[in-house]
């Protein structure tokens, strides 16, 4: 394991932070990323219905395979098209 010395004034945590959250989801599209495991599609389509009822725009994405990280292109596409993303469903 590599250990580095913190170069900052140490007013924030050493772990890198998750990105800032929007106040609500109304303004941006929510991406639904299906990791391609069995039954996940049913779970995701129900999330789609619930979000749509709230007036939130939804886009669907699907990983080629659940066993590997999503290709960089797919991640960049999601980042370009969505304001938030839900990945489901791992078991």
């Amino acid at each position: 394991m590599t250990t580095l010395l913190d170069p900052t004034s140490e007013r924030t945590t050493g772990e890198r932070p998750i990105s800032a959250r929007p106040a609500d989801l109304a303004d941006g599209t929510v991406g639904l990323l299906d990791i391609s495991k069995p039954r996940g599609d049913v779970f995701i389509s129900r999330l789609d219905e619930l979000l749509t009822e709230m007036g939130v725009a939804v886009r669907h994405y699907r990983k080629p395979t659940f066993s590997k990280p999503a290709p960089l292109d797919l991640r960049c596409q999601i980042a370009a098209e969505c304001g938030a993303v839900i990945e489901a469903l791992a078991d």
Binding site: S19, A20, G31, P38, R39, R46, I86, L89, D91
Partner: protein, 75 residues
């Protein structure tokens, strides 16, 4: 996990939904990746559930998913 971390790195707030059996693995991966993205856990098992049960799981998890993606919620 890798996907959500990668998307967080690109500035997209994300949440990762998994069955509760996955919790420990997610923690370990968080250590490895140097980031702990927000995750929402559902009851295990998944794969033999009926459609009705799957929809119920989604409904049960939904409030937590919304909270994870919006501001003012504990991360």
């Amino acid at each position: 996990m890798h996907d959500i971390v990668g998307l967080e790195d690109l500035g997209v707030p994300g949440v990762f939904v998994a069955s509760d059996r996955f919790a420990q693995a997610a923690d370990a991966q968080g250590e490895a990746l140097g980031m702990h993205p927000i995750r929402v856990l559902t009851d295990h098992p998944i794969q033999q559930r009926t459609d009705e049960e799957m929809r119920a799981l989604a409904e049960a998890a939904f409030p937590e998913i919304l909270a994870a993606l919006t501001a003012g919620q504990p991360s």
